[in-house]
Amino acid sequence: MKKKISLIVLTTALTMTMLSACMGNNESANGTTTQPESGNGSAEVKTLRFATWDTGDALKIEQDIAKKFEANHPGTKVQVEAYADGFDQKLAAGFGAANPPDVMYMWDFPTYHQSLQPLNSYADGDKDLNKDDFYSGLFNYATIDENLYGIPAGFTTRVVYYNKKMFDDAKIPYPKDGWTWDDFQSISKQLTDKAKKQYGFGVRADNDTYDLQGFVWSNGGSYISDDGKTINGFMNSNETADTIQMFGDMVKNGSAVLAGGKGQQSGEDIFKGGKIAMWESGIWPLESFRQAGIDVGTVEMPAFPGKPVKGVVAESALSIAKDSENKDLAWEFIKYYVSNEAIKMRVADLPVRESVVKELKKDQDPLYKPYYTMLERSDNTPAFLLNSKWNEVNRQLSAAVEAVVHGSNAQDVLNQAVKESERYLK
């Protein structure tokens, strides 16, 4: 009896511990099931695998673009693979198993560039692509060591959304470009009414440090030195600490609410419910704000007194896998995907071509204009492009930022984060 139990226990311990090890295998098994038939005369139809992180309406649009491409290129089948939330895991597993999709959405170039096809020779001098028509800053985000690894497909900068009705009710004039963080904080205070559970601004409980970079730059700070080698004196500089402390203080003094923690409503949802007057984000929630019936306005980010406003770009690009057997076809697909025709189909993305923006008069629409003026202000290089170990450093930085919005002192926790991260930069 005793022996039997010990055997049972041992096997249970073994199997349970191994569960985690097995998960990796599942992923790669997933990848292999979708192996394309590389047509060696066996079939006329060439299959191009295209991996996307989008779901819902955006995915629908991408499938439509794929269908149009198929119609223009007889004998081609574009297999749209929607990885959704599991995008990074599935993509990594695909590369790990040497079976990646041919074309994929991409943003994290430092992690993946070794497995991607450099596109300089494709892009330079390709008249159909017309590289000069793109907003020039966008290519920087997809370039590592002079090699271009992706063609910009979509981007967003970050702006402040405001609920016009709440401003009208409080008889406060709408914010204008050129406003300062002092203006911002005093407006937020005026619009906060705790009895009505109404707040001027929402601070995310779970911030992406990437998004906060724009503010840090605006205050003259940065996370890392320009050469990407030093964080001490940058990540924990006064400028960086003060910027992050500002958000912690707004939560502390009650002029902003902490939103989007676990089991809490997201800031977007509260904004849609008309209980947050100002919200800071990219283009993503705009459509849902409108659908919720909010009379929404957008404005450039506030400035720190005497310092220029800086922005941060979240960009999505299309890349080709180094191991792809259909690189030329993949290039054709990418070109179509960023053509005027396809850009106009992708209504949720901000157009990456100046000609399309002019044609659609997006830069004159007051709702869209701030995204483009913020783009002009986005000439700093984000930290993850400067150091290949940034993911590790960011783990500590994220923890520090979380601590600040929960009440810790920014300078202290950032010093601590620098101390714990420096080993990665050796």
Binding site: L14, S20, A93, G263, H406
Partner: protein, 329 residues
């Protein structure tokens, strides 16, 4: 069996030769067991050994793999504050969860062992949570714990207590996780219930004749008779506590401020968020050794407190005699 089969088979087809038949017959058990063996080797033992091997490598999914010996283990112990932090969280969780889990499971089993009306309904009701999948369970609890709209704080407000925002308060989040984990432990209760049912009635009868009250009976009859079941549940509880991942992943994401950042989650993130497969495998092997050691210690200690039916606790030499007798029979 291997003896009789060839004889009859040999009669039927003598020309083919009995030797060949014998070979097949000998293989039969292995053929039957082959699917399992195959699965075990490919999906269990293989990955297990593989993970031990990759724990000695710097093994990113994307990029170059290279051998670093015990480098992962050294980094883990000497250079990674998150390793100790998450290990501490898991230890704290286990220290709270394991005793409570045993106590709640046993308590419920004893209540359900009473002969009351509607017993079957209660049994079903208490077992029901363990049928719910971990993900659904996490969703339910995230509603229960919600600071503003949660039912828990609503009940607390009725008695005039302003409840915390359970999952977003670093002082309460781990407690919240323990309680949520306790909820789905119907299977443990069921094992206890089966154990209780297995205790012979006459023991209680003779105990009460000897004048033992309910509490005395519980301590002197129920607990010793149930001790093998307690041992089993204790070990599975410990393992479950160290493996806790689903709830952390879904309920708190390890936060706030890493207060529920379990070791399993640390391991998971190293593997599937930061793609450090080698490092994560090293994490996993450390956890495995810890669990194995704890299990071993519990087993060692069990000689002192676990009683098996028919076993008599006597002086050592007599005990060894009874073992020998058991073997020859």
């Amino acid at each position: 069996m291997a003896h009789t089969y060839p004889q009859t088979a040999g009669k039927q087809s003598a020309s083919l030769g009995p030797r060949r038949n014998r070979r097949w017959v000998g293989a039969a058990p292995y053929l039957f067991i082959f699917p399992w063996i195959f699965g075990f080797l490919v999906f269990t033992l293989g990955p297990l050994l593989f993970s031990l091997i990759i724990s000695l490598f710097d093994w990113p999914i994307v990029g170059k793999v290279h051998f670093i010996g015990l480098g992962n283990y050294v980094e883990m112990f000497t250079d990674d504050p998150l390793f100790w932090k998450s290990f501490g969280v898991t230890l704290k969780f286990a220290a709270l969860f394991v005793p409570l889990n045993i106590a709640v499971g046993l308590g419920l089993a004893i209540l359900l062992n009473q002969k009351t009306r509607g017993n079957a309904i209660f049994r079903t009701a208490f077992y029901l949570p363990s049928v719910i999948s971990g993900v659904a369970l996490a969703m339910i609890w995230s509603w229960v714990y919600s600071g503003d709209y949660g039912i828990l704080n609503y009940f607390l407000s009725i008695i005039g207590v302003q409840g915390p925002d359970w999952l977003n308060d670093k002082h309460w989040s781990l407690v919240a996780m323990v309680v949520a984990s306790l909820w789905g432990q119907g299977s443990m209760m069921l094992v206890f219930l089966a154990g209780l049912k297995g205790i012979p009635k006459d023991l209680y009868e003779s105990a009460s004749i000897d004048g033992a009250g309910k509490i005395r009976q519980f301590i002197s009859v129920t607990i010793p008779m149930l001790s093998p079941t307690i041992l089993f549940n204790l070990i599975t509880s410990i393992i479950a506590a160290f493996q806790q991942l689903t709830l952390a992943l879904l309920l708190t994401g390890g936060g706030p401020m890493k207060s529920t950042y379990f070791y399993a989650m640390y391991m998971y993130e190293n593997a599937f968020k930061f793609f450090k497969m080698g490092y994560s495998a090293a994490n996993a092997w450390f956890m495995f050794l810890i669990v194995l050691t704890l299990t071993f210690l519990v087993f060692k200690s069990s000689e002192a407190w676990v009683f098996y039916e028919g076993e008599m606790k006597r002086k050592p030499e007599k005990k060894s005699k009874s073992v020998r007798r058991g073997r020859s029979a």
